[in-house]
Structure formats: structure tokens, C-alpha cells
Homo-oligomer: 199 residues x 2
């Protein structure tokens, strides 16, 4: 068992080296050799854990996804009262925005991955995987809002979920480009939710 | 004067070689030498027109932006009746989505540029330039909608403009990843506009 743990730990350490490069200068043109250097190991050692750049990217992305889910869960359980569906949606989308170093890193790695997935069908498959789960989770909140009489029954939960995901994603872009301030992005999402939660 | 025209034509031909690479395999790792080869000229000849990859990227992006504006203008003037503010917004965001080869190319080049701008303050400056003009144009349409009694006077034109831009951008991502179908994306934008244009 310890050997397995070491293996996973080493893989995570390599993924973190990749994140540092993604944050500092982006992954455009960064090679496995660059990642190995950042992780303080040889290219051969790195290739023992990851046979290709894409394999490393998929692992780094899943690891980041897990950390992001963990962060959202902590945020929701940390609220004083049981959160309403509107609270859950607000806290989740806020946690998805690049408002601190960790979520900024997550978003930058996700973008690097997205750019590769555009030209690689296999990678696009992975990219699609995460969306239905998030969409179903958001749709559940809208459905709960309708059941509580807080959202108009004419709203379509699945469509509202996709709108909210797309909106959060678009605001992420403009936050990273510094076109939008964090306060503005949060205010825009709040006013979108305000209108959604109107019986 | 003919010399100047030749110069601009050559620059456009090089930009188009860059677009072809962006569409086929992305710009991640593509060098000036690759672009020169695609354009059928030597690296030295290319460097006569563009001294750096970023200079070429900025030119290619501005040229694409000009073509996109032209396309939107043609679409709006091609409508049978003078378009209402809601028509203008619908037609403009639809034209921005990657629904045909030309707008798909435009979006792919924009993303390649965006990824570089994340790590380059000077490039971020260029990226920011286009947004205020689009935002002001969208805000004007919302304002006109309020004046015509089609949009509630409580709506804030500038905020609605940014929401619509971010939403269109997010949907572009999910269209490119094939998470969303063109019909779905257009339907989601239509229902967003439907709600905005409710007195």
C-alpha cells in the first residue's frame, strides 16, 4: 500500500508543477521537459508517471476538479443555516469564478486543456464529462426553487442550469482579462439569480 | 499607392495562413516558421511584414474583428424591415456564435489570442479594447428597448449588456466543445432575450 500512496503523491506533485507553469506563463509551448524541470525530476522519471502531455493534463484537470468540488462542499457546509437553493447556486458559481489564487489556477489549467480539446476529439470527451453533472446539480436547485414557490413554474430547470453555467464561464473570461472587476462579476450573477428567483 | 496595397494584401494573406493553422490544429506551439510555410513564403519574408508572433496575432485578430463587424452589418441591413432593438441584439449575438466556418475560425483565433493575453499585460490591453465598444452598442439597444416600452425601466442597460456578452461567450465555449448544439445555444439566448424584453 505505501508504494501506491507514493505513486499518487508523486503524480500530484508533478501536476502541481504543471499548475505553477500554467499560472506563471501559460502552457502554450510548455513541454514535458519543462514540467519535469519545474518538478525537480528528470524527463525519464516524469515519463514513468505520465506517458504524454495530454495524460498529465487530464490528470491535473481531474485533480483540480476534485479540489474545486471539495472547496464548494466546504463552503456550503460552512454556512450558518441550511442553504436555500438560491444560496447554493450563488455560493457555487462564486466559488467557480477566478477570485483567489487557487481558483485562478484551476481556471487557467482548464483553459489550457480546453484549447487542446478543441483540436482533439478524445480530449473533448473528457471535457464533456464534467458538464452534465454540474448541469444536473444546478437544475436540481432550480427545481427545488420551483417546489418552494421561489422560482416561477414556467422556468425550465435544465435550460436555466445551462444559462447559469455559460454565464459563469463567460464572466470568468472577462475577469481573467481584467475587463470585469470581481465586484462587478458577483453583482451581475446576483442580479441574474435575483430574476431567476422571482415567483 | 500600389506598393502599399501589396503590403496590406500580403499581410492579410499571412494572417489567413495563421487562421488555417488555428482551425486545423490550434496555435499552441505553432511558430512563425510554421505560418511562413503555410503561407508559402520564407521565414525572412514573413518577418519583413511581422516582427513577432504577437504582432501577427494582433493583426490577424483585428482583421478578423473587422470581418465580423462587416458580417453583422450585412446581416442587419439584409433584414426586410428596420430591426427592433431585440432583433439587433438577437442577430448580433447569433453572428458572434461559432455557427459557420468563418465565425468558428474567428472564435478559435480569438481564443488563441486570449490564452496569450492571460500572461502578457500588453496583449491584455488589446483584448480589452474591443469590449467597451460592443458593450456600449448592446447597452444602446437595451436603452432603446426601455424607451419603446419593451424593456422594464428597472433594467440597467450597461449591466444587461455585460450579461449578454458573457452569456454569448460562455455558450461559444460549449458550442466549440460540442456540449451544446447550435439549436440549443440559439434557444437559450432567445429565452434570455425574451425575459429581457418583458415590460
Amino acid at each position: 500500500m505505501p508504494k501506491r500512496v507514493d505513486h499518487e503523491e508523486r503524480r500530484r506533485a508533478i501536476a502541481e508543477a504543471l499548475w505553477r507553469i500554467a499560472c506563471a506563463r501559460g502552457l502554450d509551448g510548455a513541454s514535458l521537459r519543462d514540467v519535469a524541470a519545474e518538478a525537480g525530476i528528470s524527463l525519464g522519471q516524469l515519463q514513468h508517471y505520465f506517458s504524454s502531455r495530454d495524460e498529465l493534463l487530464v490528470f491535473a484537470l481531474k485533480h483540480l476538479g476534485g479540489l474545486a468540488e471539495e472547496r464548494i462542499r466546504r463552503r456550503l457546509t460552512g454556512l450558518s443555516a441550511p442553504p436555500s437553493p438560491r444560496d447554493v447556486l450563488r455560493e457555487t458559481v462564486t466559488e467557480m469564478l477566478p477570485l483567489d489564487e487557487e481558483s485562478r489556477t484551476g481556471n487557467l489549467v482548464q483553459i489550457a486543456y480546453f484549447v487542446r480539446a478543441l483540436h482533439d476529439e478524445r480530449l473533448r470527451g473528457h471535457a464533456k464529462e464534467g458538464v452534465p453533472a454540474l448541469r444536473a446539480f444546478f437544475a436540481d436547485q432550480v427545481r427545488a426553487g420551483i417546489a418552494r414557490g421561489e422560482v416561477a413554474a414556467t422556468r425550465v430547470p435544465d435550460a436555466e442550469a445551462m444559462l447559469l453555467i455559460a454565464l459563469t464561464d463567460g464572466l470568468t473570461t472577462y475577469l481573467l482579462l481584467e475587463v470585469c472587476t470581481p465586484e462587478e462579476a458577483k453583482g451581475l450573477l446576483e442580479s441574474h439569480l435575483e430574476r431567476l428567483f422571482t415567483p
